[in-house]
Subunit: 469 residues, 2 copies
């Protein structure tokens, strides 16, 4: 595949549009090359595709005014949070404005009694957790990067806690959204559930900036568990580790985190975070509950692990030890990139029914080994979600082709066993063909019909998820 | 309000359409008055509004063929499951066909290893649970009626277990859906999570038959808990009971069920199910987990209850005692109807943030007492969801007006504190104006735009949720 050759050319920003934006946003309307370049690339291996200009918005009203200008002047608008998407979501394939929401970073209100927080879309997940910890609460969704809440909504993000606490799908109660024509919607309420009409909240979660600009989000928080315990266990093979994860899930143990790292990932993490983990396939687990509940869960899991050849079952009950382990886990992606200087990662994101996980990962390992391409594997295996990162030289057409072929084969296997091509990263530019393979032309045409209904001028992040809205 | 005066007149079914249907469905195309009448009324207080004919479908292909006929001949189609909706969802306000899916009642496959089941839309919840129990699994969503899975999807149903296990929103993985033009979509996968494009699954859940006909559903099952314990506790007032529920939730206790019954509901249930429960405001609770986990949860809850004046904290650990209690709870609605022969219930369904629950219920009680109208209250109070059933003589305009006024005041209070007019029953005919009050004209117009995009001829359950698609 020749990257980006299939995409349209940028349409550019007209002089009157630029003048109007400059008048409205002053110095927060920026066209400097460095700023544009910073907004024209994410964590995907795609080359730079810069917007014509960048706008930093400070309020829902400003976003609404911007969208009215976009409607009048017909320029694309790409919502931008932390730039940590991995499928090319934020690339300006048709030019236009990168709408940076990162300065909308206020926690608006925390209702500790109701365990909800309402935040601006630019709040990042670590800052959010910092701001609610004093109330004995936390927000569980934790993608690898310190992403913004708005971006996490847009890609339907999850992370290491999803096996117990769910993804953004389950943890967003309400949102303020600006439509393509500038209208401001409030969708959802602070109630835990609702049957009031179409679920516009869930429609917008995972819409990758194509249906509306999310400016405020009301989140469901969770009580910090009374007791927490983390454990590390290494296995003779990836398969043994995965089999253990499958048995944990099938036993109904309410495990809070259940992460797989292959030996390559452990090696990378050891080097990056100066750890001394045994460099073998590993499960990194966490248990939440009461003191006795955590103890009970851990005992059951230790037995299952030992029956699958698990050894070196190590406990980390001290908060600083746990924190070091999970920080290392969150660094795995960056740590792996550093094992091959200058590389980019083509990262798969398949998610399959749990009983299909072992053979899917096994086939991926065999294929990657046979291809001789450097790779690492991490997985939220309790959910059936795993990432193979193929570490390629982005300048090598051969390596790009090889990684794409491996990735496509992996996706085909996942789809064949009723899984999905993406558990948490979204479609972006990269998985548009996979989406059609997974759900069919008709379902994608329904998505496109919804897009046309909400954004008839195709202004919002055009050309993502599907072509030809 | 004069019931139904605002609705359009039925358009009738043309002779060519009737002939085509008769040819396609033979004796499963029925126009007998008794059959039509049976399909023209639900559990709402609305008078009969019968369809022109009833079709019993046996397959997705038949539903597709029916929708193609509907497109060609322009007649409305109203999907019908068990007829247990409570907001007038299935009334044929514009005539057309009632599409009865109750004979599509096959459990297609159970993947015990993955804890999923794929069923036809006409499978009922009790039959579903019967068919997966041998695998040590259960499906938690339990609306009062023995509804069909398709109907439960269509209204985004929940019930007594939602506080721990979620609603249909969280427990549906995939669906087969027939669109208005007869195309068949498969949405979702058997993976636990996905970020693959717009969440059409969640868009269809809660769409009340207006966007597509759900013919098959893949559900997420849960392991039967190792230990279960139920408890009944009575309180000096509804407020004391609600305060206890609030504190349980705020403590993070993973309670599986937390139901409120007011003294009127307890009285009705005692009579209907020959029980001897103390006729006072009551919490009916259930705990799931390991033996020790259940014990621990129950101890914490007993302490909280006692601090709020709770007495007679009775345990039901024997399965038959628990079953008797929960069966009685599920009969509460019918039991209440029997306290006033010939009555219908105008049933509210507000759901509010948990900290707002006490004052909302308190105000509802005061208003109902002041009005002197017979009523009962049941509530999934762990979720902030409560139902006041006003038991009216359907022939009395005065009582209907009175109940609607009380209901509207109750909804206004719920919306004012960031709650919703419906936690689990949906909008139907009854709450269309409340939906606008809750989410605003713009959000409802976006819903209507989505409807037009998917069903441009307005064939599927027209005139429900919002007017003027």
């Amino acid at each position: 595949m020749s990257y980006l050759e299939k995409f349209d050319q940028a349409v550019g920003l007209s002089k009157p549009a630029a003048d109007a934006l400059s008048k409205l946003f002053g110095s927060r309307f920026q066209t400097a090359q460095a700023v544009r370049d910073h907004h024209g690339r994410d964590e995907s291996p795609y080359p730079l595709m810069a917007p014509d200009a960048v706008v930093h918005a400070h309020s829902t009203e400003e976003v609404s005014a911007l969208m009215k200008l976009a409607s009048a002047h017909r320029f694309p608008v790409i919502p931008y949070g932390a730039g940590s998407s991995v499928e090319g979501q934020i690339l300006a394939i048709r030019g236009g404005i990168s709408l940076d929401l990162s300065q909308m970073d206020q926690v608006i209100e925390v209702h500790a009694d109701d365990m909800t927080a309402t935040v601006q879309a630019g709040v990042r997940r670590l800052a959010l957790n910092e701001s609610v910890r004093h109330a004995g609460l936390f927000f569980p969704v934790d993608p690898g990067a310190d992403a913004t809440v708005g971006g996490m909504c847009a890609t339907r993000a999850s992370g290491t806690n999803a096996v117990r606490y769910g993804t953004m799908r389950e943890n967003v109660l309400a949102m303020t959204v600006v439509l393509a024509d500038g209208r401001v919607l409030k969708v959802g309420t602070r109630a835990r559930k609702s049957s009031a009409g179409y679920d516009l909240t869930r429609l917008l979660i995972g819409s990758e900036g194509t249906l509306g600009v999310i400016t405020e989000v009301t989140l469901r928080l969770h009580p910090l568990p009374m007791a927490v315990s983390a454990a590390v266990c290494t296995f003779p093979s990836v398969q043994h580790a995965v089999q253990t994860a499958i048995e944990i899930m099938q036993s109904g143990i309410p495990i809070a985190r259940c992460e797989l790292l292959d030996a390559n990932a452990v090696k990378a993490v050891n080097r990056h975070d100066r750890l001394q983990l045994r460099e073998a396939p590993m499960l990194l687990m966490e248990f939440h509950g009461s003191e006795s509940g955590v103890h009970e869960q851990a005992e059951l899991v230790e037995t299952l692990a030992q029956d699958n050849g698990g050894s070196a079952f190590d406990w980390a009950t001290a908060p600083e030890d746990r924190s070091r382990l999970w920080t290392a886990r969150h660094h795995a992606y960056l740590a792996a990139l550093q094992t091959r200087p200058g590389c980019r990662s083509v990262t798969t994101d398949a998610c399959v029914p749990i009983s299909e996980l072992a053979h899917n990962i096994d086939a991926a390992v065999s294929d990657a080994d046979a291809a001789g391409i450097p790779y690492f594997i991490v997985g939220h295996v309790g959910d059936g979600n795993f990432h193979v990162g193929y570490l390629i030289d982005p300048d090598s057409q051969h390596e790009r082709d090889q990684a794409e072929r491996l990735s496509h084969d992996l996706v085909k296997r996942a789809i064949a066993c009723a899984g999905t091509c993406t558990g948490e990263h979204g479609i972006g530019l990269h998985k548009m063909e996979f989406l059609i393979e997974e759900t069919g032309d008709d379902a994608v045409s329904v998505m496109a019909a919804v897009k046309r209904a909400l954004d008839p001028l195709d202004l919002l992040n055009p050309g993502k998820i599907f072509v030809g809205a």
